[in-house]
């Protein structure tokens, strides 16, 4: 414990260097801007910031992206509460009570509750990241290739099962990502795979182009097809934040406790990111909250629960990312990409080999929480200014960022063609409602998973049962099967429920669906 605190102290000292401090501030501001703009998702914003980190050292790069991630979970609250426009999907539950409270003449109070929830969620997430990462890493030191393969399968299955409603679509997306990762010269045997004689495919497909193309350009094309319908906002509204009293905060201690737990848990479980955390916390409040009957009418519980939980997921996500090298969400996949671009492989050894960097990142999380709250309190008015820009203009620059970002990685025009191709793929995924996250994660984790699988097969003489007979990998593989089976069971139950509703007489139906 003392050692951890000492290292954290060193982390704060490293954070004080001009480069790291500047990266933190820039990350906070850009994260807020991204979250405020309805056309830009948080993951897209982190992806677009990636090229700026090429010339930086690894620590400020990760500090910048993590600060963006953290403040991005908070910035969208302003547009949700004031304009009823969720900047991010995770802000949707927030507007159910935030907007009514603002309409009741209490926008400052609604923003105050949001700020408080972000502050508590942020501090809890930073503490949980520091407390859980080292035990996680120590445990992971016992892992061999089969355990790694099992963990990777669990991570991928979590993302697949929680990415969207259709398991089939998520599996298709994941397989496409795994196949994209297998293009190029195979590392083990040196064989050309799916290169079709095209020289540029021998180097493989950069996951960066897949990420930037599918998330960034794909989203831009989707919005273009919709005609850029989001109108510029009247951002001249008075913006004030008023903190709730100590007595009011104490009345919400149950909500705070429940949402904190849900947030951290959703962060650690792969696939269950900030959006799921936000919805689940609101749902739990609707079922178990003291004022559950009043939810949706503009009560503080409906603001605190989703905001606190979504911010609290960030630290949870950082734990498996740093300790195991497994990203649990789109944003952490990009952060993993940044690590790899700088030649750093996160995993259990990272605490020994790059302890200073890890604790600087942890320290930056504490500083980012305070920074984002200060920004939200004092500087939100200039940040909201971006809402005045027409969507066609911002989207044009987002597309440009995608191109320049992909080109910057290798100065290769080939990557520009890849961006166009994956932009169209991303649009088609959006159009046919296939989730993009499994494809991106498959692309990043595919080579690692294949390597762990092949190493296991070589070491254990092609014995498939090894993944199930070793204690740790066996448990994780069973968890993987449960994670994959969960949506099937849910869909089956949903189908039975729908059949019952369809078969019920009209009188019964009215009774059943009564709000």
């Amino acid at each position: 414990m003392q050692d951890v605190l000492l290292q954290l102290g060193h982390g704060f000292m490293h954070l004080g260097t001009p480069t790291n401090a500047l990266a933190l501030v820039v990350g906070l501001v850009v994260g807020m801007l991204v979250a405020v703009l309805p056309g830009l998702t948080l993951v897209m914003g982190v992806v677009l910031a990636l090229p700026f980190t090429y010339g930086m050292a690894v620590t400020p790069s990760i500090v910048l992206l993590t600060a963006m991630y953290l403040s991005g979970t908070y910035g969208g609250a302003f547009t949700s509460i004031l304009f009823r426009i969720p900047g991010e999907p995770l802000d949707v539950p927030l507007l159910w009570d935030g907007y009514p409270m603002a309409r009741q003449g209490q926008p400052a109070k609604a923003l105050g509750w949001t700020l408080l929830a972000a502050l508590i969620g942020g501090l809890i997430t930073a503490v949980s990241a520091v407390a859980l990462a080292v035990p996680f890493a120590k445990f992971a030191l016992r892992f061999d290739a089969p355990e790694y393969f099992a963990i990777l399968m669990f991570g991928l299955s979590g993302v697949v099962s929680l990415a969207g409603g259709s398991l089939a679509k998520a599996l298709v997306s994941l397989c496409v990502g795994l196949l994209l990762a297998s293009v190029g010269v195979d590392e083990t045997y040196g064989a050309d795979r799916f290169t079709f004689g095209v020289p540029m495919l021998k180097d493989g497909i950069e996951y960066l182009t897949v990420m930037v193309g599918a998330y960034g350009l794909g989203e831009v094309l989707t919005r273009m097809e919709q005609g850029f319908v989001t109108p510029p906002m009247d951002a001249s509204r008075k913006l004030e934040t008023r903190f709730p009293s100590w007595r009011e905060i104490r009345e919400l201690k149950g909500t705070i406790g429940r949402s904190s737990f849900i947030g951290v848990l959703c962060g650690i479980v792969p696939g269950a990111g900030a959006t799921v955390g936000s919805f689940v916390a609101y749902g739990v409040e609707a079922q178990y909250g003291k004022n559950r009957g009043k939810l949706g009418t503009g009560i503080p519980e409906g603001i605190v629960a989703p905001q606190l939980a979504s911010t609290a997921t960030v630290g949870g996500h950082m734990v498996p990312l740093l300790a195991l090298g497994i990203p649990g969400s789109g944003a952490t996949a990009v952060i993993l990409g940044a690590f790899l671009l700088h030649g750093v492989q996160p995993g259990p050894q990272i605490f020994q080999t790059s302890g200073d960097m890890v604790y600087t990142i942890f320290a930056s999380m504490f500083a980012a929480v305070l920074g984002m709250c200060l920004l939200g309190y004092f500087a939100i008015k200039p940040l909201i200014w971006v809402l005045k820009l027409p969507e066609a203009v911002t989207s044009a620059f987002v597309a440009l960022f995608c191109f320049v970002g992909a080109y910057s990685a290798r100065n290769s025009v080939t990557d520009l063609w890849m961006i166009v191709a994956f932009g169209i793929v991303g649009y088609l995924f959006e159009r046919f409602r296939f989730p993009i996250a499994p494809m991106v994660l498959g692309c990043i984790l595919g080579p690692v998973a294949e390597n762990a699988f092949m190493t296991s097969m070589i070491a254990y003489k092609n014995d498939w049962a090894i993944f199930f007979t070793r204690p740790i990998s066996g448990v994780v593989m069973v968890m993987t099967l449960i994670a994959l089976g969960f949506p099937l069971v849910r869909q089956f139950r949903e189908a039975i429920r729908r059949d019952r509703v369809a078969a019920a007489p009209i009188g019964d139906l009215n009774h059943e669906v009564r709000p």
């Binding site: 089939a168 397989c175 196949l179 195979d186 795979r193 799916f194 919805f279 609101y282 296939f434």
Partner: protein, 182 residues
Amino acid sequence: MPPRGARLRAALPYAAVLLGAVFLYFRAAEFAMMGREGNLGPAFWPRAVLLLLMIVCLLEMLRVAFFFRREPDEPIVPAAGPVPEEDDAPRLPALLAGGIVITVLYVPAMEMMGFFLATILYLAAFMWIGRYRRPIVVAVTSVLGTIAFVYVFMKVVYVSLPLGAGPFRQFSAWVLAALGVH
């Protein structure tokens, strides 16, 4: 049972993916023989993924054919609180087609004309096609935005953006000199 057209539309993406997967599975034979004795070889992993892909597509096509119902596309989260308004914006395929065409043309244009000129044209065309029709704002935003990009990426981040060919290359060099980028 929903009409045949709806079922066909639902099955189409899976049929396309299935065809692609079958094609790749057989193409994998080209490198399947490169494995050493007793090892699984380089084709094992992609073929396993392709098999999974084919099974998923086949099952989905069967589901659509015999047990079709609307897929639950909403995220797996508790249905709590009021349901947000549906995004009922109409789709405008002409806009999308225009966007894709200028985006595809942007890449060869950048190689030929260089980043500076091609980007000014791309930004202006994008905003115009995106139905933002204020010519002076479009022109000024495109030029100033491009200058900002050139300055930040070439002067600050040291990215060597394309200069173009022939006379365009000379023009790009002149612009860079004017911006103090060497």
